[in-house]
């Protein structure tokens, strides 16, 4: 079924060859053969809701089970990133459910992954975690994760509960100690009920740059967000007491 080119309510996505996703999967051919497209579409419609032309949460769940990956797994998020999916995902307290809406995104993602069948897709997805974490585009994925969770149109912040989940998902493997500490702090502090993009980005920088055992290179006179200044003070107090 040919897709109409008009889209509802989406902003422009990067389609150029400079997307970080393309960096990840270097050298993907820019022209898809009609045979490939056909297979992509086939796969799409296996899971898509025919009336709305999108893979809705139910479709995702079945896709995930076919892939052998839990739908709360970070690799699904990474898949969404690969597709440069729009901010259609949403997190509830207990599960992370994504909706892949448009076929173009689907096509793009599968093209990048060079997957035109379920088995190839499965292989690619299972490998995504490794690939993305080690790549130089990880920071872009990290920012994407935040944006993806902004469900309302003018929404700029995410509540702290969801942030904790997201942090665990995205940074848990690499920075276990930091994520645990931050989560604990965020849950007990009352100054901030929501976290914005700037603070979110700063968390990543913090994990990368600051010596977590001593905080000796943390300088509150620099432009770190206030929430991190407070976090470091809190950590120091805790450690002094211990």
């Amino acid at each position: 079924m040919p897709r109409s080119s008009s889209r509802k309510g989406t902003t422009n996505l990067k389609e150029s060859g400079n997307s970080p996703v393309m960096d990840l999967f270097r050298g993907g051919s820019s022209k898809a053969s009609s045979k490939d497209t056909g297979r992509h579409d086939q796969l799409f419609y296996t899971y898509a809701n025919h009336s709305s032309d999108m893979i809705d949460p139910d479709g995702i769940v079945s896709l995930c089970s076919d892939l052998g990956v839990d739908h709360t797994d970070v690799r699904i998020l990474m898949l969404a990133w690969t597709m440069q999916a729009e901010k259609q995902g949403y997190f509830t307290l207990h599960c992370c459910v994504n909706a892949f809406s448009w076929q173009d995104e689907w096509r793009r993602g599968l093209k990048e992954l060079r997957a035109d069948s379920l088995s190839k897709l499965q292989k690619a997805v299972l490998d995504l975690d490794n690939k993305v974490r080690k790549s130089s585009s990880f920071p872009d994925f990290y920012s994407f994760a935040f944006r993806y969770c902004l469900t309302e149109e003018k929404q700029k912040c995410i509540d702290t509960e969801s942030i904790c989940i997201l942090l665990d998902l995205v940074l848990g493997c690499q920075f276990r100690a930091q994520v645990d500490a931050l989560t604990q702090y965020l849950k007990q502090q009352t100054d901030y009920k929501v976290i914005n993009m700037d603070q979110w980005n700063a968390f990543y920088r913090f994990c990368n740059e600051i010596n977590f055992s001593t905080f000796e290179n943390y300088d509150p006179d620099l432009a770190w967000p206030l929430i991190l200044d407070n976090f470091v003070d809190w950590m120091r107090l805790k450690r002094d007491k211990a």
Binding site: C157, D198, Q199, L222, W224, L226
Partner: protein, 742 residues
């Protein structure tokens, strides 16, 4: 005779020799002879002839040599021996005598041999005769005796220092020799005398100082030092060469002051700190005079001064805090007498120490700064929970309101206001002061409590001078509003006259305020008594005839009402606030009302109801009876009109104390500060486009410092907020860099 006879050299010289011998005997003081003009001319002419004879009889060179020899001979045979056999002062005298003689001799001989000076010396590039003479004396006499002479002079100087009377004229003459022997150069004076003299002086004072510093108190030591310096200066004028003055005084200052500066200033009972404590103004002035002469001398003094002022100021703070804590707890939030006394004391302290800066320390910038730093320390501490900003504002209010300072003369009031404004310079939170001041000004203006319009305007002028126009613009607006309000009232009254049906039957005065100028007030929807409702409507109608573009918000909490209370014995006119009047009028319809009923009917907050009922039932005039008749209002109380109330006056004012404004003021100021910080950040970023975090913070602090000292964390928070609102963004590569988003 036309032709001159050739003078043979030996002949001629013999003749000259006689002349020289005669000269010598005159010098020795032997005979009272002198040269006659003839003798003079003969001697001169002999030389002339011998020089102008034709060769081989021109004897210029030989004569030149002989001239020199004459000095040699005389010096070695007479002068040196006589000097060698004398010592000390006697030697000095002999030297002076011989030097003076020598100058006479040189002068005379030069006259005799003058012709050589005219042509011979320049032809052969030889030194002139006087110089030859000088050089002879220098080489043969001066160089021989200079060390002995120097030592003799120095020992005389030291004796004079010890109090002996010495022959100053002699020393002057001796030292003149050292100067003149240089023939224009000071080298001999400096190397052969001054250097050693300075060294000796240094050693002398070093010894003295090491004793004095142990034995003497600081003031005594300083007095001695000052005297020594004075005497050394005199010494220069008496016999030393003027060029020695600077070096000499520096040496003395070094040994007496520089070396022992710290020990002197830190002397336990009598050092700088002690002098300040004991208010020894004269000693401190001396200290300033002396220490200003040595490099880095004043810094420790100004530091001690600063510490002293800070300590005194902090003591005042503690004193006030202690006094306040002894007060009963129920009056804790009200700025009371103790705090006012504190402000007065701080003003006096400032006067006292400013006098020190002006008089003892001669207005030196170091001390002005020390005073400023000290005051900034303790003027920002606050007393018992009230900030200094509030204390100062209350202080001003007390002066400016009726019944505040009527005992003081106009000049005294002006002076005090002047001083208060000066103190404001030390307070960081100037915007807090402005807000408190504004709140109190509003009360004074609206309740007609201002004592004197001129003083009100005068302090605003002073504040404007000190803090800029922006600081006082709102306050000035408030004062102007009142003037306009009076005009407006006149128009309103005309309107009522022209529209008799509109008249509400109650005398109504309305003051219309411009919102931006006045402090913000929570306006409650007080349920007005019916009688008053009509008033409001009438005024609204009238106001709409003047302008349709403005909205009126009624602030009943500032209204005043005259209500007639028909008590059993007599009717008394009660002057109350609108809130109080509304409460009282409820009793026109019901004799007994409970607290809850009153609150419900009035539609006010608990806080306001408690205050107003208290003023009517538990204060000086009990218009209402309260059950139970405790002194505290509780929600279970019941109130009744007190028909039996009476007073000898027919007209009484029932005071309603203002609620706690402090919290609201601080809230308002905090809010304004957030806006101010935002505006400042945006202003800076707009012009710089890209700026590092630390620079942004420091520029922001500087921009705002006129009004308050912003907390760095607060600035950080505002920056984050502005990022969220898309005014700024963080640079992708450098997390400490911000960019302005147009």
């Amino acid at each position: 005779m036309n032709q001159r006879e050739i003078i043979d050299f030996h002949e001629g010289w013999k003749f000259m020799q006689n002349g020289i011998t005669k000269l010598k005997s005159i010098l020795e003081g032997a005979a009272e002879t002198h040269f006659t003009s003839e003798e003079h001319i003969m001697l001169y002419t002999t030389i002339y002839n011998m020089c102008t004879q034709k060769p081989p009889h021109d004897y210029s060179q030989q004569l030149y040599d002989k001239y020199k020899e004459s000095f040699h001979e005389y010096i070695t045979s007479s002068v040196l021996p006589s000097l060698k056999e004398r010592h000390d002062e006697f030697m000095l005298r002999e030297l002076v005598r011989r030097w003076q003689n020598h100058q006479v001799m040189a002068r005379w001989l030069s006259r005799f041999f003058f012709y050589l000076d005219r042509y011979f010396i320049s032809r052969r590039s030889l030194p002139p005769l006087m110089e030859v003479g000088l050089t002879c004396f220098r080489e043969l006499v001066y160089q021989e005796v200079k060390v002995k002479v120097r030592d003799a002079v120095i020992s005389l100087i030291d004796r004079e220092r010890e109090g002996e009377q010495i022959d100053r004229a002699l020393l002057k003459n001796v030292l003149d020799i050292f100067v003149e022997i240089g023939n224009g150069l000071m080298d001999f004076y400096e190397k052969d005398f001054e250097d050693a003299m300075l060294k000796d002086t240094g050693a002398y004072y070093s010894r003295k100082a090491s004793n004095w510093i142990v034995d003497d108190s600081c003031p005594d030591y300083m007095l001695k030092a000052e005297n020594c310096l004075r005497r050394e200066k005199e010494r220069v004028s008496h016999y030393l060469h003027s060029s020695s003055e600077t070096k000499l005084l520096e040496k003395v200052q070094h040994e007496l002051l520089f070396v022992y500066a710290t020990q002197l200033l830190e002397k336990e009972q009598s050092g700088c700190h002690a002098l300040l404590m004991d208010e020894k103004v004269e000693d401190l002035s001396r200290m300033y005079r002396l220490f200003s002469k040595i490099s880095g001398g004043l810094e420790p003094v100004s530091n001690t001064f600063k510490q002293h002022v800070t300590a005194e100021g902090s003591a005042l703070v503690k004193q006030a805090e202690d006094a306040v804590s002894q007060k009963k707890t129920d009056k804790k939030d009200v700025v009371g007498v103790q705090e006012q006394v504190f402000v007065r004391k701080v003003i006096d302290l400032h006067d006292k120490f400013m006098a020190y800066v002006n008089n003892c320390f001669l207005n030196h910038t170091l001390f002005h700064k020390a005073l400023k730093d000290a005051f900034e320390v303790f003027c920002n501490k606050g007393v018992a929970g009230s900030s200094n900003a509030e204390l100062l504002a209350t202080f001003c209010d007390n002066i400016l309101k009726k019944g505040g300072s009527e005992k003081l003369s106009d000049e005294a009031i002006e002076e005090t206001l002047e001083k208060v404004v000066k103190l404001l310079a030390y307070i960081g939170d100037k915007d807090l002061f402005a807000e408190f001041y504004r709140k109190k000004l509003a009360r004074r203006l609206l309740f007609n409590k201002s004592a004197n319009d001129d003083h009100e305007r005068s302090i605003l002028t002073k504040l404007k001078q000190q803090c800029g126009g922006q600081f006082t613009s709102k306050m000035e607006g408030m004062v102007t509003d009142l003037t306009l309000a009076r005009e407006n009232q006149t128009h309103f009254e005309e309107y009522l006259n022209n529209n008799p049906t509109a008249n509400p039957g109650i005398d109504l005065t309305v003051t219309v305020l411009t919102t931006g100028f006045w402090p913000s007030y929570k306006s409650f929807d007080l349920n007005l008594p019916v009688e008053m409702v009509k008033c409001i409507e009438v005024f609204k109608e009238f106001y709409e005839t003047k302008t349709k573009h403005r909205k009126l918000t009624w602030i009943y909490s500032f209204g005043t009402c005259n209500v007639n209370g028909k008590f059993e014995s007599k009717t008394i006119e009660l002057v109350v606030t609108t809130h109080q009047a509304a409460a009282l009028l409820l009793f026109n319809t019901s004799n007994r009302l409970s607290y809850q009923e009153i609150m419900a009917q009035l539609n006010l907050s608990d806080e306001d109801v408690v205050r107003l009922l208290h003023s009517l039932s538990c204060a000086k005039y009990k218009i209402l009876n309260k059950e139970p008749s405790t002194k505290v209002i509780s929600p279970n109380d019941v109130f009744e009109f007190n028909g039996k109330f009476t007073d000898k006056m027919r007209h009484i004012k029932i005071h309603l104390p203002p609620g706690d404004e402090k919290k609201k003021v601080i809230e308002d100021v905090d809010k304004d500060r957030r806006y101010a910080i935002d505006a400042s950040i945006i202003r800076i970023m707009k012009s710089r486009k890209v700026l590092g975090y630390q620079q942004l913070v420091s520029e922001c602090v500087e921009q705002l410092s006129r009004m308050f000292k912003p907390d760095v964390k607060a600035i950080k928070k505002r920056i984050e907020d502005l990022i969220t609102r898309d005014y700024l963004e963080r640079d992708k590569d450098n997390a400490n860099l911000f960019k302005y988003l147009a």
